[in-house]
């Protein structure tokens, strides 16, 4: 993924390790710190694979690189390819709710209520953070979190309703 991110930045024009590190961190809202060594290691691997080419040093002696035709093609493929999503059945929250339902230790509603409280608190914090943020990358990270938390809260309501229906059906 770092490789594709560096290709994206090089698509704007030739650059060198430290500059790429700074641009990468800026574009991702500092969510993913990189060190310059890591950048140069990746660049030399990319050069070996023909994705970038070394264009010598700039006036300050920094080794610079530019993207190749093959690199451009690889980047375009990556940006337009979808990311595979799988639903995890081994999630701890699902496990807790299923175990609460399968045993009589606590009412599953209690397990659900505890998670609802915590997810709602996270949603409130995220909403406040979004209100105060003015970096595009930050806002997109927060929007993603908000969308996930809303989905979880919706799922908790559905889970509660489904469990209640089943319990009623059993005449409990």
């Amino acid at each position: 993924m770092i490789k594709e991110a560096l290709l994206s930045l090089l698509a704007k024009g030739p650059s060198y390790g430290y500059q790429l590190k700074i641009e990468f961190e800026e574009a991702t809202g500092n969510a993913w710190p990189l060190n310059v060594g890591q950048v140069y290691t990746t660049l030399s691997r990319m050069e070996r694979d023909g994705l970038v080419t070394s264009i010598g040093e700039d006036e300050e002696g920094r080794p610079s690189y530019e993207i190749t035709h093959k690199g451009n093609e690889e980047l375009l493929g990556w940006l337009t390819d979808s990311v595979e999503r799988t639903i995890s059945t081994r999630d701890e929250l699902s496990m807790k709710i299923l175990m609460a339902t399968a045993t009589d230790v606590v009412n599953p509603e209690k397990t659900i209520a505890a998670q609802r409280r915590s997810s709602m608190q996270s949603l409130q914090d995220a909403t406040e953070r979004r209100r105060k943020s003015n970096s595009q990358a930050d806002i997109l990270h927060i929007e993603r979190l908000i969308a996930n938390l809303k989905a979880e809260l919706t799922w908790l309501d559905i889970a509660e309703e489904r469990i209640n229906e089943t319990t009623k059906g059993k005449g409990k």
């Binding site: 209520a113 709602m120 949603l123 809260l153 309703e161």
Partner: protein, 246 residues
């Protein structure tokens, strides 16, 4: 700061029952909570949990079977019709799910209506309507009729009508239900702003994101309060700014 603690809406052991043939259904049971000036409270819960009934009672549209509900200290159970209708024109603003805007009137005329009903002079009502439209950010659309406005703009007109003049309590039933996500966001920001400016806001919603804008969330289940949760991230921010002031 004492003004912010002023209770605008208060439920006191409120009970609401409906008759369904030989059966009595308890839609609200022992409801106790209050909303102060400057506070936004979200009322959540599944369909049938009693949230819309709660809002209708706060707005004087339905009446309790037992217990009491107060708006600025006025009991809505023993109030006479004239006083109630004046409260509904002057103090309580209601945003309905289907908005209830009058198609033949402009945005400004729609907003001015409750004031004119209560005997405010037309010129003064018009001026206050413009102020309300300015507060919701659509002053320039004052002369358009509802059908010349987008869904989000119509929602803003309905909110302006609910906060026009000296209103101190805003009640909204699923105010973002019919809007796309980003338009809904604008309405959420607006409701939070209206609360910050000093209006008590009660909003019924099933949208967790809108609920997250509130200072407090009251969750209903089968007519009872299941849980009340404070918004610590928002409330701590309020305390911070107060400390800076003093």
């Amino acid at each position: 700061m004492s003004s912010k603690d002023e209770v605008v809406l208060k439920f006191d052991s409120a009970v609401k029952e409906f008759r369904d043939g030989p059966n009595t259904i308890r839609a609200l049971d022992s409801i106790d909570f209050s909303i102060s000036k400057g506070e936004m409270v979200a009322i959540t819960g599944r369909s049938g949990s009693g949230k819309s009934t709660l809002l209708n009672i706060a707005g004087g549209l339905e009446f309790l079977t037992a217990g009491d509900v107060y708006v600025l200290g006025n009991s809505l159970t023993i109030i006479d019709t004239k006083k109630l209708s004046s409260l509904r024109c002057n103090t309580i603003g209601y945003v309905f799910q289907n908005l209830n805007l009058i198609p033949a009137l402009t945005a400004q005329q729609n907003v001015a209506i409750p004031l004119e009903f209560d005997g405010t002079k037309k010129s003064e009502a018009d001026e206050l309507a413009m102020l309300a439209l300015r507060r919701v950010g659509i002053e320039e659309l004052a002369n358009r009729t509802p059908k010349e406005l987008s869904g989000g703009q119509r929602q803003r007109v309905a909110i302006a009508r609910a906060i026009v003049g000296p209103r101190q309590l805003l009640l909204a039933d699923e105010p973002t239900g019919a809007l796309d996500d980003l338009t809904a966001r604008g309405v959420m920001d607006l409701l939070a702003e209206i609360a910050e400016e000093g209006t008590a806001v009660a909003v019924v919603t099933h949208d967790p994101e809108l609920a997250a804008y509130a200072n407090r969330i009251v969750r209903l289940k089968d007519g009872k309060i299941e849980e009340v949760s404070q918004n610590s991230s928002k409330n701590s921010a309020v305390i911070d700014s107060d400390e800076k002031e003093s």
